[in-house]
């Protein structure tokens, strides 16, 4: 039983006897019902209990008859029941629990039977119990399974009871009467007696039932519910079956407020106050209606109001005196502070601050050994100093105009490409100058540069030119390189051309007469005559003086002679002699032999040896030449092997051709590319085009025989030259230049010019230097005593170089090609082996007009004068002096 119920019951007892006496039975019943439903506050009662409850109420009306008669008999029992109310309630709780287990129930019911049978004699009113139990027993036996399955026992029981009632309605009617009588008779006297006779305190009233804390169901099978203080049994009020309950409910208007007291089994009718109390509890209010939740708070103990002292006794005297121990401690602290052993917080903070403050001293005072620094430290370059444009009031030309402003706007996405890192603006006065928005950012970038940008000494070169020794040092830092040299210093310092005179400086003469490009030219060793060969077939040869800058050649003039080879007088520009060769002349070459006037001309595959006759040179020379060529060679020497014979054929010359100057003709099996005389004039070296191993042929005039010096080809032979003094042969192939010793028949040296395609060779008259021209616009100067690599590569031409020539006397050489200019250079060679040759380009001479992208085809210096002859593609020969 919940505790509040105890209080409730107590209050009920206090409230008044009249009520109690009338409602005793009903409360008992009701309490039962409530226990069954396990909820006190539900109010409404179950059907089953209703049936049982109804009985006493019905009987209540009839009580008036039987009350007195039964009074005495049940008296004692009643007293018991009232005393045992408390425990009874608890028991009923237990019983309700017990109903869950049917086996127990059965046992109980059996016990009940036994008990009831034994007590039948004593209590007439108790008869109903056993009879009920019996009936229930019967039903139990009939439907054991049904009972077992039920979980909510109370409901089941009631059902069983109903069935029971249906079976024996008559018996029930009697029982109802009995029970109601007994209950009503039992109630009143108990109350009265309890209150007034025993004279107990309210505490004792609670314990009218002395069974204690035992389960209520122990008493289920007994007619009593416990024992009162005197040890007498408290009898159960008569049990009501469902019909009784039902009737009671129907008849009793107070049924809804009737509950059953479990300790006594009596019905208790709840008073108005009780109901009120229950209502309040259910609504969650304070149970006491008189309680005012919102009554004003009376302060009596807070930090403001201290109505009562904390301690009831007054302070001790020593609490008003300074503490000795404290004083001692303070004195010790004061002493420590005075002595500086201890410090106040402020002092400590000051000290800390002072410690944090940087102490500067003379760091560079003591002359100690400098500590180790960074390995090869590269100091960061300084930021460039501001220009005029950065001024707050710059000169007006630095302000951006419209176009520049447009560009500035365009580069807004990539500001680092802009000309300035700031916008040049003009401020009228100093106070109008605002802070630079990107200043902090710029400083930050500088910081980043200082620790993040890789530094390098970008160039550390000692450039050793002939007259120049410059130490260059550049720091690369943040993409801004600073050069400390001027570009002029990179240009080699060479002597001025003015100091290297004489050299040809301007065009002096033009030899005109050829109709097509002049392929080749050669100056007679005496310097008086010039032989030229050309591609033309339509120009007539006319012996006429053709001074420079005089229009003398008109294409409309009819031509009758096929001229390909001409001899000119240098001093006058007259064409002295022409020879029709039938084919384009690739090469002409005067024999260097003194006292001879012999010209070798390569026309197609034929090498023609021409004697220009008495008009060229002295008559004596012409005679000796004729004589030499006429006399037949010693027969035993004319021995040529098969290979050579297949390659070359010495032809006889007919009288008609002889009259025109032809003396000898050598037919080759391929076209001739190049012809070169030996310095003595006996040998001619001929280079053939596409002739593989037989591309170089050497002819000996005195013996009228030819030789093929090479067995195997070593590449495309471009040209072959005799060494001026030694019995050597220079052979230029496409990539390399080979030097062969003809006497010992071996390769002396292989030079590697490093060009893609060599075009021409020129040997220095001294014989120790060689100039190689190439089609990839380079000229290589070889010092034969120095190395197989060029001593210097001259890139003075913009396009292919086709011709190169040395001056036999002066330290001059010239190169020309598809470029507009012929370059005359100074090439000084020293006898001192330690001194390198000095090469100085001197002059760019304008060549002829370009024809089919050809300009200059051949070059030759005058043997004695600093004059230069150039065979031009515009069918002129130009003389530069």
């Amino acid at each position: 039983m919940p505790p509040f119920r105890i209080g409730l019951l107590k209050r009920k007892i206090e409230s008044g006897d009249e009520k109690f006496s009338t409602n005793e039975g009903s409360t008992k019943e009701e309490s039962h019902a409530l226990e069954d439903s396990d909820n006190l506050f539900r109010g409404d009662l179950d059907d089953a209990n209703d049936a049982t409850d109804s009985e006493p109420e019905i009987n209540d009306d009839n009580d008036s008859d039987s009350n007195n008669s039964v009074d005495k008999v049940i008296f004692g029992d009643d007293a018991d029941s009232t005393l045992g109310e408390d425990e009874d309630g608890e028991d009923s709780d237990q019983s309700s629990e017990l109903t869950d287990s049917e086996a127990d129930d059965e046992d109980d019911s059996e016990d009940n039977e036994n008990e009831s049978e034994s007590e039948k004699s004593v209590d007439s009113g108790a008869e109903s119990g056993p009879s009920q139990a019996q009936s229930s027993d019967e039903v139990d036996k009939q439907l054991p399974k049904l009972r077992k399955k039920t979980t909510n026992a109370s409901k089941k029981q009631s059902k069983v009871k109903k069935q029971n009632f249906k079976n024996s309605v008559d018996i029930l009617a009697e029982k109802i009467k009995d029970s109601s009588v007994s209950s009503t008779t039992a109630c009143l006297p108990v109350e009265q007696r309890d209150e007034y006779e025993s004279g107990d305190t309210s505490d004792e009233e609670d314990r009218r039932n002395t069974t204690g804390e035992v389960p209520r169901w122990w008493y289920d099978e007994y007619p009593h519910v416990g024992y009162d203080l005197d040890g007498r049994r408290i009898m159960k009020p008569p049990q009501r079956d469902q019909i009784d309950e039902f009737l009671k409910r129907c008849e009793d208007p107070d049924f809804w407020r009737t509950v059953k007291d479990p300790s006594t089994g009596q019905d208790v009718k709840l008073s108005k106050d009780d109901l009120e109390l229950i209502r309040r509890l259910r609504e969650g209010h304070v149970p006491d209606p008189a309680h005012d939740e919102y009554q004003p708070w009376v302060e009596w103990f807070s930090r403001e109001v201290l109505a009562t002292p904390l301690r009831a006794f007054p302070d001790h005297k020593r609490s008003f005196l300074p503490s000795r121990s404290d004083a001692r401690r303070v004195a010790a602290l004061v002493h420590a502070l005075r002595m500086g052993w201890a410090k106040t917080r402020k002092q400590l903070a000051d000290e800390r601050r002072q410690k944090r403050e940087k102490e500067f001293y003379n760091l560079w005072g003591s002359e100690s050994e400098p500590p180790r620094g960074i390995h090869r430290h590269i100091p960061a370059p300084r930021r460039p100093l501001p220009s005029h444009a950065e001024s707050y009031n710059p000169p007006p030309e630095y302000l951006l105009d419209k176009r520049e402003m447009k560009e500035w706007e365009k580069l807004s996405a990539t500001p680092w490409l802009r000309k300035y890192s700031f916008l040049p603006t003009r401020h009228d006065s100093l106070r109008a100058v605002a802070a630079h928005a990107r200043y902090t950012r710029e400083r930050f970038l500088r910081c980043l540069d200082l620790y993040l940008a890789p530094r390098a000494i970008a160039m550390r070169e000692s450039i050793n030119f002939v007259h120049l020794e410059v130490e260059l040092e550049i720091h690369i830092f943040d993409k801004t390189s600073q050069l400390t040299i001027r570009p002029e210093e990179l240009v080699p310092k060479l002597p001025s051309p003015r100091d290297l005179q004489p050299f040809p400086t301007r065009e002096a003469l033009q030899f005109r007469g050829h109709a097509a490009a002049v392929r080749c030219l050669h100056v007679h060793p005496s310097g008086q005559y010039l032989a030229t060969g050309s591609d033309d077939r339509t120009v007539k040869g006319r012996e006429r003086r053709r001074p420079a800058r005089e229009p003398q050649f008109s294409p409309d003039r009819p031509t009758d002679v096929c001229l390909v080879c001409a001899v000119w007088e240098v001093s006058t520009g007259r064409c002295l002699h022409t020879v029709e060769a039938g084919e384009a002349v690739a090469r002409v070459c005067w024999s260097p032999a003194a006292g001879l006037a012999l010209l070798a001309a390569a026309a197609g595959a034929r090498l023609l040896l021409l004697a220009p006759g008495d008009r060229v040179g002295s008559r004596r020379a012409a005679e000796t030449t004729d004589r030499l060529l006429d006399e037949p060679p010693p027969p035993h020497d004319v021995a040529m092997d098969e290979r050579t014979r297949s390659c070359v054929q010495w032809e006889r010359v007919g009288a008609e051709r002889r009259a025109r100057g032809l003396r000898l003709a050598l037919a080759h099996f391929k076209d001739i590319v190049h012809v070169a005389w030996h310095s003595r004039g006996d040998y001619v070296c001929v280079t053939l085009r596409d002739a593989a191993s037989r591309s170089v042929v050497v002819h000996q005039l005195s013996r009228r025989r030819s030789q093929l010096p090479f067995r195997r080809s070593k590449g495309l032979v471009q040209c072959a030259l005799f060494h001026p003094t030694k019995p050597w042969l220079f052979v230029a192939t496409q990539r390399a230049v080979r030097i062969y010793d003809l006497a010992r028949q071996e390769l002396v040296r292989k030079l590697q010019p490093g060009a893609q395609w060599n075009s021409a060779l020129a040997a220095h008259p001294g014989g120790d230097h060689l100039l190689v021209a190439s089609y990839d616009s380079k000229c290589m100067w070889f010092d034969l005593e120095l190395s197989a690599r060029p001593y210097q590569t001259l890139r003075v031409h913009g396009r292919a170089v086709r011709a190169a020539a040395f001056h036999p006397r002066y330290p001059l050489f010239a190169t020309g090609g598809d470029d507009r200019y012929i370059v005359v250079s100074h090439g000084m060679v020293y006898n001192d082996l330690l001194q390198n040759p000095l090469l100085v380009p001197l002059k760019q001479l304008p060549g002829g007009e370009p024809r089919d992208s050809l300009v200059t085809l051949d070059l030759q210096f005058h043997p004695t004068q600093p004059w230069l002859f150039a065979a031009c593609a515009d069918s002129t020969i130009r003389l530069y002096s």
């Binding site: 500067f360 902090t440 400083r443 910081c447 380009p841």
Partner: protein
């Protein structure tokens, strides 16, 4: 015996360099700490000769450090400090996580300090080394001195910067070392000369601090730099004061001695700083009041150019004059003028400065003082003006310092339109530099600027302009022109003399004529050489020689030439813009004149 095969990159460039990652691993540092130690120690990545080899064959571009640099860092005692600091930070973190705030506060309070004195000495073994590298230090410290308290910057750093920069400025004032000043759009440039080293620094204009986004500026990095720079500047200051016989640290104002007054507002702070600049610093006892450098005796050493010596002498003289340029002059600065640079400059050259007493602290004399020589104003006009003084604009001070003389004030008077402010840092010795007419006027007293009203002036200008252009093209052409002129003159003279001869005696002439007929000898015509012949030849020769530039330097040469061309074009553009501008101005002036004339005529007729 089989020798072991050498591993690739174990020697040579591959072993010389180290990527940053490898360096971090070697030093056992976090990137943050590594960055810090790199900044403090002045270690920087290096550009290898061959990047591929230096990166041990790896592609891409990596930050490469010299292995020796990293090994050098390995011996640094601070490295251990950094590691300890890491542990300490962990402690703080833990205390915070455990909510032991008292402990955390204690840790924060006793945060260990890293002493970097030895690094300063190590990076700058001598005082001159430190002075040489002072540019960035000063610029950054001046910037930081304007910073408010920032999140990633230690609180006392900007205070320290303020103190040190003011001390440095005092040292400059005391040493009279300032040489050049320049107002740029970015800030004030100052150039000082200390111990033969030129130091240039920038002081930003007012209100230079603007909140920066995180990816724009990382204040933490800058703060690390400042950490080193403050130490460096402190030691430099000490040494400077020491050498100037001054007490260090100087007692300037209460603002710096008492750091509790941090809540003083910026205005007050600036005012105090400027006021501090107006106080002379305390000299050491026994120090000479005036110690002038002895006259520089320049010895004639062998191989020295006497002209150079003369120039050096003149320069020294000029500098000496500059040092005392404002001596004895009193300046009064109006309140709208930015005072800090002006006070600094005027004090540097021996002037006395004051300002409005009511507005700012530290004024030494009043505006009504009759002995004031110059009042610096930056407003179009003033109500009350004193006759005893000049009212000039601040640019006058700057331009005067740069020209090293007190410039005539006529162009700088109050309300006048200022002439352009020119940078004194443009290198005059370099060629291919555009010189605005104003600068040329400064350099050459005979030069007539274009703005003169007379037409003749402009003509001369044009002529000289062309002249200048010629100069830029090739310096050799100038004498050539002179030569041609001379030659023409000679020819003229010859002809005149002949004429004169003719005039003198006609009889003889007649005789001559007769003789001529008889002898048939024609008078010789002097061979006229083409005036530019020589130059043309030289140029052609040079063009040929150009082709002989070694292959190695050919690209360099080409790029240098291209640069020259570009500069030439720039100069041409600037000159053109100037000409157009001047013409416009002239026309405007003419129009105005014309208008005035018409108005006058109208007035007269009326």
């Amino acid at each position: 015996m089989v020798s072991k095969k050498k591993k690739k990159y174990s020697s040579g460039e591959g072993a010389q360099f180290m990527t940053r990652k490898a360096a971090l691993k070697k030093l056992q540092l976090s990137l943050k700490d590594f960055r810090r130690i790199c900044i403090l120690k002045g270690i920087y990545p290096r550009e290898p000769r061959n990047r591929k080899r230096a990166q041990k064959g790896a592609g891409g571009i990596k930050t490469l450090y010299h292995t020796k640099d990293i090994k050098f860092l390995l011996h640094e005692p601070i490295l251990w400090k950094l590691r300890e600091l890491k542990v300490y930070q962990q402690k703080i973190r833990k205390a915070r996580a455990m909510r032991e705030f008292r402990q955390m506060r204690k840790y924060l309070r006793d945060y260990p300090d890293i002493n970097i004195d030895h690094i300063v000495k190590e990076r700058y073994p001598t005082f001159v080394d430190a002075l040489r590298d002072l540019d960035d230090c000063l610029t950054l410290c001046f910037l930081f001195s304007t910073f408010p308290s920032l999140k990633r910057v230690p609180r006392n750093q900007s205070l320290l910067c303020r103190r040190l920069t003011v001390e440095f400025m005092h040292a400059i004032i005391a040493a009279k070392a300032l040489r050049k000043v320049f107002i740029s759009v970015k800030g004030y440039y100052y150039q000082a000369e200390l111990e033969g080293q030129t130091i240039t620094w920038i002081v930003p204009h007012h209100f230079s601090f603007q909140p920066q986004s995180k990816d724009e500026v990382d204040f933490k990095i800058m703060s690390t730099f400042v950490e080193f720079y403050t130490m460096m500047l402190g030691f430099v200051n000490f040494k400077l004061y020491h050498s100037l016989n001054l007490v260090y640290p100087p007692k300037l104002t209460a603002a710096f001695s008492d750091t509790d007054k941090e809540l003083v507002d910026e205005q007050a702070y600036v005012a105090e700083r400027i006021a501090a600049m107006n106080i002379p610093v305390i000299k050491l006892e026994g120090a000479n009041e005036v110690e002038e450098l002895p006259e520089i005796d320049i010895f004639q050493s062998e191989g020295e150019d006497p002209q150079k010596l003369e120039e050096a002498k003149q320069e020294a003289e000029k500098v000496k004059k500059l040092k005392t340029m404002f001596k004895g002059l009193k300046f009064y600065i109006n309140r709208e003028v930015p005072r800090e640079p002006l006070v600094f400059i005027i004090r540097c050259f021996g002037g006395e400065v004051s300002w409005d007493k009511d507005l700012f602290v530290g004024a030494t004399f009043d505006e009504s003082d009759e002995s004031i020589a110059y009042q610096i104003v930056d407003r179009p006009n003033m109500d009350k003006q004193y006759l005893s003084r000049y009212y000039v604009q601040p640019q006058w001070v700057f331009d005067s310092v740069n020209t090293r003389t007190l410039l005539p004030i006529s162009k700088y008077l109050m309300g006048a339109e200022l002439p352009p402010h020119l940078s004194p840092f443009v290198d005059k010795t370099r060629d291919q530099v555009y010189k605005p007419p104003e600068e040329r006027a400064l350099l050459d007293p005979n030069f007539k600027p274009l703005n003169d009203d007379e037409d003749s002036g402009s003509e001369i200008e044009e002529a000289s302009d062309e002249d200048e252009e010629g100069k830029d093209d090739s310096e050799v052409e100038d004498p050539e022109q002179a030569l041609t002129k001379q030659y023409q003159q000679e020819v003229e003279e010859d002809s005149t003399s002949e004429d004169e001869d003719d005039d003198i005696d006609p009889e003889k002439k007649k005789l001559k004529k007769e003789k001529k007929k008889a002898m048939s000898v024609t008078t010789g015509v002097p061979h006229k050489e083409h005036p530019y012949q020589k130059e043309i030849e030289d140029k052609q020769a040079f063009r040929l020689r150009e082709k002989l530039v070694r292959k190695k330097y050919r690209n360099l040469y080409k790029s240098m030439k291209a640069g020259q061309e570009k500069r030439k074009k720039e100069i041409w553009l600037l000159r053109k813009k100037r000409r157009l501008h001047d013409e416009k101005v002239k026309e405007a002036k003419k129009a105005e004149k014309h208008k005035k004339k018409i108005q006058a005529i109208e007035a007269a007729s009326a």
